[in-house]
């Protein structure tokens, strides 16, 4: 290779805002777009949550109509799941996978651009339904018929938006699979890949397998509503319960789509700040794969009360309980990694330890929910709300925040403000528990989910929970400030950033060149797995 072509290959980003961001095929730029989009959605979905919690501050209806309340719960979930958590993970995949496996870019850069740019349109459509006659979708993010078929204009627009999100996710997933399987640097064998890459590879297969199922389910809703079919209409020979089976065949793997990449992130951060290799690398890979497999055969635990036959009920109970085993292995491995390490507590590590503690609480309530006879009490109560928020907020969202603090110095070349980062962690962690822990009590005492008003016996814990919600919400503004501050400047970050960091991404400069690993790096043979 001559010097001229080499230099040409290393040129910076194109000039001009549109050329840089709208037409970009660069994995780092697209990763940034995903992450910024996800942060915007996180705040929009958070505002909806605050409307919900404000109405629930006291018994009686004070602020909104019950129907608007239902629009808020439905859209809070859709925005947070499809707009905040999933794009954040895809953004991290875009940024990190190529530089973790020594690839110059994603395998399919043009498709990468398209899969991101579908999202702003999908969410513009979804959010615009709030201003349509009849309002936005209000039948819950699970979109159960026949209730779902009572919507007005929001139904076709909402379904089209879900289709776009699905196409975007599938394309993103195909890109990850193609990149990981084809673009690894020589010597980067599968069992040497960082766990984040492994987790994303498995997640990508889950996405490819389940997003079309969701698309099918909502398309059947569409034809039931507008084209005279009766897939889910019992009066026409259809079956409303079939929808739930199809939906949760997507919905349960979806839960793992939102948590497997988190496992990968935590498996990168804990060894770094324990200054010790990850314990049980291969068992971590196998546990991730087992969880992914089991996620396909447990879907009906979301439907224990629909009246399944006894044998079905038992099968789904046993299969669900089984998931606790590989999940337990992961938690034990993280603790064994910390055991006899040399631990320091920078912000990413704080969020990672918070993740392990609080995700485990969510895991416990998940195990309780798996016990079908007990689920007859827990089902559709605030106990479930507490469960999945522990898994998704202190689980998935905490891992994303930890990842941002972990890799922000690498992305920007500046250290973030450690003092503000720690403040963000402590405020978030105190308030998130004030917010969600009392919801366990509310559910056990008998408060159903998705209600705008409640009996006075539930008043005290609801008030506590709302105080927690506003505290947690406002604490996230600190995060926004830390990120903006770090992008604009700060102490210069070294290439390795963290003294315990291992892996290819830390061999690049901070920030990395616009085009990195144009020539593949050499992976020393016989070295233990990178972290």
């Amino acid at each position: 290779m001559t010097a001229t072509t080499h230099d040409a290959h290393h040129e910076g980003p194109p000039s001009g805002f549109l050329r840089r961001w709208l037409f970009t095929t660069n994995h780092k730029d697209i990763g940034t777009l995903y992450l910024v989009f996800s942060l915007v959605m996180f705040f929009i979905g958070g505002l909806m949550a605050l409307v919900i919690r404000a109405e629930l501050f006291q018994p009686g209806m004070q602020l909104v109509d019950p129907y608007f309340f239902n629009q808020m719960t439905t859209n809070h979930a859709l925005v947070m799941i499809f707009g905040a958590v999933m794009p954040a993970f895809t953004g991290l995949a875009n940024w990190m996978i190529p530089i973790m496996i020594g690839a110059p870019d994603m395998a399919l850069p043009r498709m990468n651009n398209w899969s991101f740019w579908l999202l702003p349109f999908a969410f513009a459509i979804l959010l615009s339904t709030m201003f349509m006659p009849g309002g936005a979708l209000a039948g819950g993010w699970t979109m159960y018929p026949p209730l779902m078929l009572q919507h007005g204009m929001a139904l076709p627009f909402g379904i089209f938006a879900v289709h776009l999100m699905g196409i975007s996710s599938i394309m993103g997933a195909i890109n990850v699979v193609a990149t990981v399987l084809n673009m690894r640097a020589p010597g980067m064998t599968l069992m040497k890949m960082p766990l984040f890459v492994w987790a994303w590879l498995i997640t990508a297969y889950l996405l490819i397998a389940t997003m079309p199922v969701l698309a099918g389910a909502v398309t059947m809703l569409l034809t039931d509503a507008f084209f005279g079919t009766h897939f889910f209409n019992a009066a026409g020979g259809g079956d409303p319960v079939m929808y739930q089976h199809i939906f949760w065949f997507f919905g349960h793997p979806e839960v793992y789509i939102m948590i497997l990449p988190a496992f990968g992130i935590i498996s990168a951060i804990i060894p770094t700040f324990s200054r010790k290799p990850l314990f049980g690398y291969s068992s971590m890979v196998y546990a991730t794969a087992s969880i992914a497999f089991l996620s396909f055969i447990v879907w009906a635990h979301h439907m224990f009360t629909v009246g399944m036959p006894l044998s079905g009920e038992l099968f789904f109970m046993y299969a669900t309980m089984l998931i606790a085993v590989p999940t337990g292995v992961k938690v034990f491995n993280w603790i064994a990694t910390m055991w006899r390490g040399s631990i320091s507590f920078e912000t990413p590590m704080l969020f990672a330890i918070g993740f392990v503690l609080m995700f485990t609480i969510g895991g416990f309530s998940g195990l309780m929910l798996a016990i079908s006879p007990a689920d007859f009490q827990y089902h559709d109560t605030y106990f479930v709300v507490a469960h999945f928020h522990y898994v998704l907020v202190t689980g998935a969202v905490y891992s994303i925040i930890a990842a941002v603090y972990f890799w922000l110095p690498k992305w920007t070349g500046h250290m973030y403000d450690e003092r503000l980062g720690k403040l963000h962690f402590w405020l978030s962690t105190i308030f998130v528990n004030v917010l969600f822990f009392p919801q366990h009590f509310l559910g056990l005492a008998g408060m159903p989910r998705r209600i705008p008003d409640y009996s006075t016996q539930f008043a005290d814990w609801n008030m506590v929970s709302t105080i927690g919600a506003f505290g947690f919400g406002f604490a996230q503004l600190i995060f926004l400030w830390v990120v903006i501050k770090c992008v604009r400047g700060g102490a210069k970050a070294t290439d390795q950033v963290w003294d315990g960091a291992r892996g290819l991404e830390w061999t690049l400069s901070s920030p990395p060149p616009y085009h990195s690993f144009s020539e593949p790096p050499t992976i020393p043979s016989g070295e233990t797995s990178p972290r």
Binding site: P59, M61, L63, V64, P66, N70, P133, G134, G139, Y144, P146, L147, Q150, A234, D239, R275, K276, P277, L278, F279, T305, V306, G307, E313, L314, M317, Y318, V325, G328, V331, W339, R340, G341, I343, S344, I353, L357, T360, F364, I371, S372, P373, A374, F376, Q377, D380, I430, N433, V434, F437, F441, L444, A445, G446, P448, I451, D453, S455, T456, W461
Partner: protein, 388 residues
Amino acid sequence: MKVVKKRVAAWFGGLPFGLLLAANPALADLQLNMPKGVTQISREVYGLHMLITGICAVIGLVVFGAILYSVIRFRKSKGAVPAQFHHSTTVEIIWTIIPMLILISVAVPATKVLVGMYDTSKPDLTVKVTGYQWKWAYEYLDEGVSFFSTLAQEDNYARQLGSGRNVKDIDNYLLNVDEPLVVPVGKKIRFLLTSNDVIHSWWVPDLGWKKDAIPGFINEAWTLIETPGVYRGQCAELCGRDHAFMPVVVKAVSEEEFQRWLAEKKGPPAAKDTAAKTDEPAPTLAALTMDELMSQGQQVYQVHCQACHQANGEGMPPAFKPIKGSPVATGPVAQHLEVALKGRAGTAMASFAHLSDQELAAVITYQRNAFGNNVGDLVQPADVRAAR
């Protein structure tokens, strides 16, 4: 050490807050746990719940203890030197097998309870429960008794946006109905659950279970209540705007009292074919004045129509059509009667044939003359009788 203490104190920052709550006498009666309930099954479910909670608590102590120990003991600031071990097949096998054994020890009792819950054979009494947006209908299948159970009127007024009522003054706010389900204690009661429109879920925590009411399906469940009393619950499956406002109230009484209630409910044989509602004066077929019909009609409207069609008659299109200016309410009376008596297939509009002739006459008259409809005609109870 000072730093450690500070950090540990911060970890438990939530604890003083919890103690504060526990110490406050006004909050002392906060319910934190699942109710034990009043049936054998509900106590078994409670037992399972406590078993699995206890197991989680013990595992939690071990796991959180290990994390806490690590973050205190193996700190870089204390000069901890990292070990470099990263694998142990033995340990991996141990922490795979032990959780498996724990899970099996929970699965066995859980299976037993579940099998018991599914045994709906040999009931003493069968009640059919039908969910409607947003009320429940109860039908005693062998007795020919049926009625609707709706949110009590006082609660219904108080829960409106900006009602100005302090809901804390209402006992069991949102958990009161106009007519509870009455059942005998000590009898095995089988429930057949279904729905007329969307999916609902019938739940009374004291009975230990909830079951979905699904259109086109009939689900089965059973209970045997041991203690007389009033047990309250509510719909647990999102069913639209007023999902929060369709409570379930079960009144368990002695067998004798139940028989008395049943006999009263069946009423004198003569009144049986006109109306199921026997707690009202015998229906008169005498003609009523416009004022009488309009004032009674407004009351009936508030109880039975307003949830969907709204106080201003504008409904919530497209699911719930407006009455204001609608072709039905301003067109021929016969068509209006037919919609009220038979409902509209394939829509949320259910049949209201269970209302008395007079109630229907009043509410139809009201609908035709309120909201600026001003058709001007009167519908008399006799007209309703003729249309049935």
